[in-house]
């Protein structure tokens, strides 16, 4: 596996600092699964120096990949300004994926803000495997600006429950409340359920605890500052139960919540 040059064929702004990058020439990513990520670097000089990790949101048979980004710092600022036609250096697919959708299990896909891509891709996978009815996307954000691409997901035929902290769209409140409600519904109905999540680490810990209480399997995609994305720099370490440290890029980003939840950092 090597960095390869993709061509930016679209840079679509969704408002609120969110934008979708369309990358042509990503045939080598075609086997990627939801939760896996790519390291991306634009064709600029020595600052920003390091590539950035982006979860894949889609990868088509035509070798066209999409990622969703939100501008928070220097790397995303540069990407937001990159115009179609530019060369983007891409390495991947990297890291672990979420478990395959199944016909007899309900998957609650919890997405927080820019944590949407893996959940979006997981929903698409369920649709592709004709089990979309078994998947529900619980999608939370601060306000309406943080809720994007909902039409796409409705079109996939998955359930969609939107929450915003300011109530500007969907149900007012935290996505974790929606999660509890849905878990309760499915428990009453006696369905077996899995929880998967991607978003701010704080949200992930919350859903991990909820899942633990109710003894449902839970998989979460964690974020850490990364340098290499390939398990070498040891920068993306997180305290874990199975070992003193696990690495988000090589052991994750998708972890069984049980292994990483409420682990006291090694002294």
């Amino acid at each position: 596996m090597r960095y390869f040059d993709a061509r930016l064929d679209e840079n679509r702004s969704l408002g609120g600092g969110y934008f979708v990058l369309g990358l042509a020439g990503c045939e080598s990513l075609s086997a990627a699964k939801p939760g896996q990520f790519v390291m991306i670097r634009g064709d600029w000089q020595r600052d920003p120096l390091l590539p950035r990790a982006f979860s894949l949101m889609s990868i088509g048979p035509d070798g066209r990949a999409e990622v969703l980004a939100k501008t928070v710092g220097r790397g995303t600022q540069m990407l937001e300004r990159t115009l179609p036609g530019a060369t983007i250096h891409v390495l991947g697919p990297l890291g672990t994926a979420f478990p395959e959708p199944q016909a007899d299990v309900v998957d609650l896909l919890v997405a927080g803000g820019v944590g949407l891509p893996p959940m979006y891709m997981q929903a698409a996978w369920a649709a592709e495997r004709k089990v979309a009815a078994q998947s529900e996307v619980l999608y939370g954000g601060r306000g309406a600006a943080d809720i994007v691409l909902t039409e796409d997901m409705k079109a996939m035929g998955v359930g969609l429950h939107v929450t915003t902290e300011d109530g500007s769209v969907g149900t007012k409140g935290l996505v974790t409340v929606a999660l509890e409600e849905r878990l309760e519904v499915h428990r009453k109905a006696g369905r077996s359920v899995r929880v998967m999540g991607c978003g701010p680490n704080g949200m992930l810990w919350a859903i991990g605890r909820i899942a633990r209480e109710r003894e449902v399997p839970c998989f979460i995609s964690l974020e850490e500052q990364m340098a290499c994305g390939i398990g070498v720099c040891l920068g993306c370490a997180i305290p874990a139960r199975s070992r003193p440290f696990r690495y988000v890029c090589s052991n994750g980003p998708v972890f069984d919540a049980a292994d990483v939840l409420d682990v006291k950092p090694a002294p």
Binding site: I230, V232, G235
Partner: protein, 316 residues
């Protein structure tokens, strides 16, 4: 690419070089802590293209490393405080060395301790291992018996440490200098006077980053080591100062190397090998690419032997 690669090795330019008691097929090595134990790169680059691999720093016992976050980006660089996490001598021999033995390039093992005795023990055990071509001593570690001052910052302390290790290390012994000093030449001389075979210049520079939003340091240990292109001017200066002072040891140049031009700059300043560090995070295939680009560049410039460049800076 394989085309380029073959071209490289058939190119009418000699990249092979003997330096610090080791003969390399080319002068491009990977810097300690930025290339793991090489296996991590097995499918990301062609290891047999590299002149040599310098391993992650090894201590007598395994270490788990520092609290997190451990890294952050800075202007054209990064800070790290990994905490010298490593598998220890035993783990290295059992789990890492077998792969390294057959990776097709020279193996230099970077090592350290927290006391002189630990350094000596670690160096002796590693040097005894078959498949280890040379040792590189990381002296940028707190000396717990001396209130945590780095071994590498005081020429006298450094000299004694080097002598003690030299006595037990029967293989080439390289010493990696810290740049956190006012007088790099004094440190270099202390190594030369006490039997070192080569100098690696430089290790990371102590730095700090703060998140204005959270008002917290960006890395858990507050201070970290600065690396990347940002430090290249400081590294080049130190390599040249040591060379110009006539310190009689070959120099492995380190600091911000990204491409063949950077390699040539370090050679002109006085290095006879170089080590690629942070750039391996930007591109895992960087070192291999540099080997290929360097060969092509020298051919284009009509240089037949890379050794012509060592210390060939034109001054005055």
């Amino acid at each position: 690419m394989s085309a380029t690669r073959t071209k490289t090795f058939e190119a009418p330019v000699k990249l092979a070089i003997e330096s610090g008691g080791v003969s390399f097929k080319n002068p491009i090595l990977t810097a300690s802590g930025t290339f793991g134990y090489a296996r991590e790169f097995e499918r990301l680059t062609d290891l047999s293209e590299l002149g040599g691999v310098v391993t992650k720093g090894i201590s007598p016992k395994p270490r788990f490393g520092n609290a997190t976050p451990r890294i952050c980006e800075t202007a054209s660089g990064m800070l790290n405080s990994i905490g010298l996490e490593n598998v220890g001598v035993e783990g290295f021999e059992k789990d890492k060395l077998p792969f390294l033995r057959q990776c097709g390039s020279r193996v230099l093992v970077n090592f350290f301790g927290t006391t002189v005795d630990e350094y000596v023990e670690c160096g002796a055990r590693l040097a005894a291992l078959d498949g280890v071509d040379a040792l590189e001593m990381n002296v940028s570690c707190p000396n717990i018996k001396a209130g945590g001052i780095e071994f590498g910052t005081d020429p006298r302390v450094l000299g004694e440490l080097v002598r003690a290790c030299r006595a037990v290390v029967k293989k080439p012994l390289w010493v990696k200098l810290t740049p956190n000093t006012a007088d790099i030449v004094a440190l270099a001389k202390a190594c030369a006077d006490n039997g070192a075979d080569a100098l690696s210049i430089i290790n990371t520079i102590s730095g700090m980053a703060i998140d204005a939003r959270t008002r917290r340091p960006k890395i858990a240990t507050i201070f970290g080591g600065l690396s990347g292109p940002a430090i290249k001017p400081i590294a080049l200066r130190m390599v040249y100062q040591v060379k110009r002072a006539g310190v009689p040891l070959p120099i492995s140049g380190i600091g911000g190397i990204q491409d063949a031009t950077d390699v040539i700059e370090f050679f002109l300043a006085g290095a006879s090998t170089v080590q690629v560090g942070t750039q391996s995070f930007v591109d895992p295939d960087a070192s291999g690419g540099i080997v290929r680009a360097l060969a092509a560049r020298l051919v284009a410039d009509g240089i037949t032997d890379v050794r012509e460049l060592v210390g060939a800076l034109r001054v005055g």
